[in-house]
Amino acid sequence: MNLFDPESWFWLYDIPPFRLSLLFVAVFVGFYWIGSIIVRPILRQFVKYTAGSNDIVGYVLSCFCVFYGLLLGLIAVTAYQNVAEAGANVTREAAALSALYEDVSRYPEPHAQNLRWLLRDYTRYVIKYAWPLQQRGIVPQEGAIRAAAFYDRLLEFKPSTPAEELLHGEALHQFNGFLEARQMRLYSVKSSLPASMWYVMILGAVLNIAICWLFDMRFITQLMLGGILAAYLGIMMHLIFDMNQPFRGDVSITPEPFETLYARMEDN
């Protein structure tokens, strides 16, 4: 297992969200507590405890927390925006597909029927095959084949009236929009925060905890107060981790727009 390879950590997405949250908290709190026992006595040798030493450590911690909090907040927003953008692409693709379905339904037979079932086939593939792959972080390949099959068949239609020409032009336009949205969805399967951001976040969390070890207070109080801070850091990390991959985890995009469309296609 390569610890620096983001995909090495994908198995974490298979853990149910509440348990994953507890796991993050446990790891951070556990790290803090174990550090309190093992590392704190070593660090204490570097800080001479005087009457005002806790004030100095508190001041440094406040300053650090401002910067670190800002960083975490911005990263969380970025991760959420990634998810939201990927969700918008999925909705756009389903909407373009729906419009295309309506357009080709107005073609003369047998073109209309043949084109309709090719679009239905594409939608079915996205729901049944592409989505499970995306949830495993794999870019699905075979949807492109179905899109190409539809395009080939669409180009076989030769409009014979001005109305058909307009309709065909609109269908081709919709098809381009659909292709664009589809490509955006595929790009977002692999989109995630860069590894450097994770390094900064994790290092920041470790430093945050290390500063807490410098406080001079009763040991139990130290465990309690530092533990609360570590637990919150764990929760924040879990949130960002969950939003890191748009199609994985609890905060992920579902195939609902395609499912709704497919149900309507079947009704027709």
Partner: protein, 436 residues
């Protein structure tokens, strides 16, 4: 009163360590039990390849074959898979290009496919044959073909000439077929049409019936300009046509026949490569009254067939149809499943060993038996007349399934195959393009 013992740092450390361990012990079952028990384990899978053309001229026919086989694997997976494994299907597009089939075959085998289902034209099957033989993996081929081939690594599920072409000719020459006398052969310029027509000519010569060949024409796959061919049919005075035209070239053939106002009652065209799926793209006004021969038609009125059609349509849409290659395609998946389960392994040698016992499957078109000697399946012969609703009236059917003979004696004297013994027995070389 003695002074209260002061808590030392050592005591605090002990307490801390004890508390940490206690917390870890208390939380561990909740956290890590979730990792092992709460997560649905990712199912073990085994890969299977589908080699079908989903774009290009053959897509009109081959896409439905892909769908029915996907449907079969989805049903198998829903019922728990095979030998405790889910089937993961790889279905790359072979784009109706013969030279792409070997690349795609290698692609699916490299992905770990234990077997593959697919190919449409004989050229595509012949192109991948050495790959499967070298990899010692099985290819299941569902389309009707010309015979004159046997491989221990191919299971042939479609009809061969003695199950389709020969009974078709017999029917045309019979009273039921209108006692036809002048036959015109038209086909795509592919291995199957040329070999099938060679067998047809040999069969007619051996039968010494009045029906004889008055012309023979081939056009490249995908070519739709059949006006010249139709003119030749009319000039030759043909009273029936045997068509081995493949894919969407059929659009051109029937358009040209309609344009020349060929009456199907006077000059019926019997197609060997047209099914309900191809009819969806053909205009009923151009094809109604013509014929197709095969082993299966959707209009077959049996409970098994109705159930099968309903299952497929429920999954893929109520405007979808089932046709000849789809039925063998379905049966082949289930024959393979039977063999794997009997063998208790996906290993090719073990599966082939089970073939020797002979397998049977109750298909939608009737019972199918895999002949251990030839690795071909027994088939019913059926003749269908095209209706205006893009379906067929079955006008003739064999009383029993016909056992496949990949080397009919009349065309390939001295040739035979028996995979339970010595494999292929070779006779004299046969030139299918030579004089009959």
């Amino acid at each position: 009163m003695p002074p209260a013992a002061k808590t030392t740092r050592r005591d605090a450390l002990r307490c801390g360590a004890a508390a940490t361990l206690a917390a870890a012990r208390a939380l561990a079952p909740a956290l890590f039990a979730g990792c092992s028990l709460g997560i649905p384990p990712r199912a073990k899978t085994v890969t299977v390849g589908l080699l079908h053309s989903q774009t290009g001229p053959l897509a009109i026919s081959a896409t439905s074959l892909r769908d029915i086989q996907l449907h079969a694997f989805e049903q198998i997976n829903a019922a728990g898979g095979m030998l405790g494994r889910q089937i993961e299907v790889r279905a790359p597009d072979t784009r109706s290009q013969t030279n792409l089939f070997p690349k795609r075959a290698l692609q699916v085998l490299d992905a770990g496919a234990v077997a593959a289902f697919g190919c449409w034209t004989s050229a595509s099957r012949k192109a991948v044959l050495p790959i499967f033989e070298e990899a010692k993996k099985l290819l299941f081929y569902a389309v009707q073909y010309e015979g004159n081939e046997s491989s221990p690594y191919v299971v042939y599920g479609g009809t061969v000439p003695n199950q389709q072409i020969m009974p078709t000719l017999d029917w045309l020459a019979s009273a039921a077929g209108g006692l036809r006398k002048k036959l015109f052969l038209v086909g795509s310029d592919l291995v199957f049409p040329r070999t099938a027509n060679f067998v047809a000519k040999k069969h007619l010569k051996a039968q010494a019936k009045e029906l004889h060949v008055v012309g023979e024409e081939y056009l490249p796959l995908g070519d739709r300009n059949f006006s010249g061919v139709v003119r030749k049919i009319l000039d030759a005075g043909a009273d029936c046509v045997l068509s081995t035209v493949n894919g969407d070239s059929n659009l051109g053939l029937f358009a040209a026949l309609a344009e020349a106002q060929v009456d199907p009652r006077k000059i019926p065209v019997v197609s060997t490569s047209i099914g309900e799926d191809e009819l969806r793209s053909l205009l009923p006004s151009q094809v109604t009254g013509h014929y197709a021969s095969g082993c299966y038609f959707q209009s077959l009125d049996t409970p098994a067939n109705r159930t099968w059609i309903d299952g497929f349509r429920k999954e893929f849409g109520y405007d979808r149809v089932t046709d000849d290659p789809m039925e063998p395609g379905w049966c082949l998946v289930h024959l393979w499943k039977q063999a794997v389960e009997k063998a208790g392994s996906f290993d090719t040698a073990a599966v082939r060993q089970v073939f020797r016992e002979g397998l049977e499957f109750a298909g939608p078109g009737g019972p199918v038996r895999l002949d251990p000697k030839t690795q071909h399946t027994s088939k019913f012969f059926r003749m269908g007349r095209i209706r205006s609703d893009r379906q067929f009236d079955i006008v003739q059917a064999s009383p029993e399934p016909i056992v496949a003979d990949p080397y009919p004696e009349v065309a390939f004297p001295g040739w035979s195959v028996d995979w339970t013994k010595d494999g292929v027995t070779r006779g004299a070389e046969v030139d299918i393009d030579g004089e009959v």
